[in-house]
Symmetry: C2
Subunit: 242 residues, 2 copies
């Protein structure tokens, strides 16, 4: 088990949807901020990792299991730990609790370290990871697989100025937003996500148009973000009726 | 002078643009959260105002004067006070300071109280406003005027699911986003706002399409959000070269 880190957070007005329930795309970004503060607190800020190792953290996959989404003004506890790592991958978990200590949802993230110069995945340096007290393992559970989409519906989105983050690419949270937005307004009103897997394949650059493709079969939707003829992100979402 | 209230805030990753500078649209929403916490702290939460008076606060106008926009990870101080009010209008100011106490920018908001049942503007009840220690005045400075746009350029935006807030309408911050997004990517990269005035005229409902119209004359851009043939928001932004 890794070193645990906790923060409390009260869900603000602009992080809930019309149903008064948490918007997952900005909240996942917020969680990355929480893990960033853990890293800072143990001397492993992004800046330190970049300066000392020439490496940057990149999220490749997410898995979420959702019991309940918190509501406007609800105070939650975000607990995170870097659970385990092998040669190339690091697992981080987030547990989101309500004020009674009930688990609202959990979030598993797969991280890799990218060499800033070569843009290639780097082996995880043991001394970089040491302060997290993560377990070093030979094998890690593989990230979920994705099927090709057949007969997909598609919605077009223009990449906007505010979609681009300070790394010069579309911010990861936008992919999940585009996946949601491809679905019907009324479907989103009447359903909530129960389980989600999400993979980031490639970055999207400023300018141009992406296609948010999806296949919805009952309460499961499969998603793909296509840009210039290539898959840039994939997801599977299991929904339930509200 | 009104009762002052302060909070510190460290600018998170997802609140900066590609230039590593603060995104104003979500930050203005954040400021409203700060004033909400001041109101709570003096027993005037939105819920209390609604339950006791049947009233809701609505922002009609903003004015900003910007010296410098804070950058990623910079810790700022947000100071706010409800400065003055007359029969129908309340003024609130926000002062944003850097860590050396230098003023980064200020933000003046014009608020009115709307009767939830009749949807009409209500006179400001003295006992509601008393804890803010605002000055009651006969006349308040009028909000800035706006010109009709002639030969405007226009960009179309579809109203998205995540644009809708828990009041069931497009969130105010989206209007300013649509105004920015109507401008050139390269113009936004090369310029920063110096002065801004912004007026909310009408709410936009879910579904449908808005037109973000603008006229840019040198370093001044005038904006309008049109929906179903009517003006829903207006702005004038003065820019300067970076």
């Amino acid at each position: 088990m890794g070193l645990k880190y906790q923060e409390h957070f009260t869900i603000p007005f602009d992080m809930v949807d019309v149903k008064q329930e948490l918007k997952l795309p900005p909240f996942i970004s917020y969680c990355l901020g929480v893990s960033g503060r853990q890293s800072e607190s143990i001397g492993r800020s992004d800046l330190f990792v970049f300066d000392e190792y020439g490496l940057i953290w990149v999220v490749t996959d997410y898995e979420l299991r959702i019991n309940r989404l918190p509501r406007y003004n609800e105070t939650i506890t975000i607990e995170t730990e870097a659970v385990a790592y092998n040669k190339f991958f690091c697992y981080r978990k987030f547990f989101i609790y309500d004020q009674d200590g009930e688990l609202l949802f959990d979030l598993l993230c797969y991280f890799v370290l990218i060499d800033f110069e070569t843009r290639k995945v780097s082996p995880v340096p043991d001394d970089l990871i040491a302060p997290y007290q993560s377990e070093k393992v030979k094998k890690l559970q593989r990230a979920p697989k994705y099927n090709d989409l057949i007969d997909a519906d598609s919605k077009e989105f223009t990449v906007r100025y505010f979609d681009i983050d300070m790394n010069g690419h579309v911010n990861n949270s936008k992919y999940l937003e585009w996946m949601y937005e491809a679905l019907d307004y009324d479907f989103l009103l009447g359903h909530k996500p129960k389980k989600m897997q999400l993979r980031y394949v490639k970055e999207v650059s400023p300018g141009g148009t992406i296609f948010s493709r999806f296949v919805k079969d009952g309460l499961v939707s499969q998603h793909e973000i296509d840009y210039q003829g290539q898959i840039h992100a994939q997801a599977v979402i299991e929904w339930e009726k509200r």
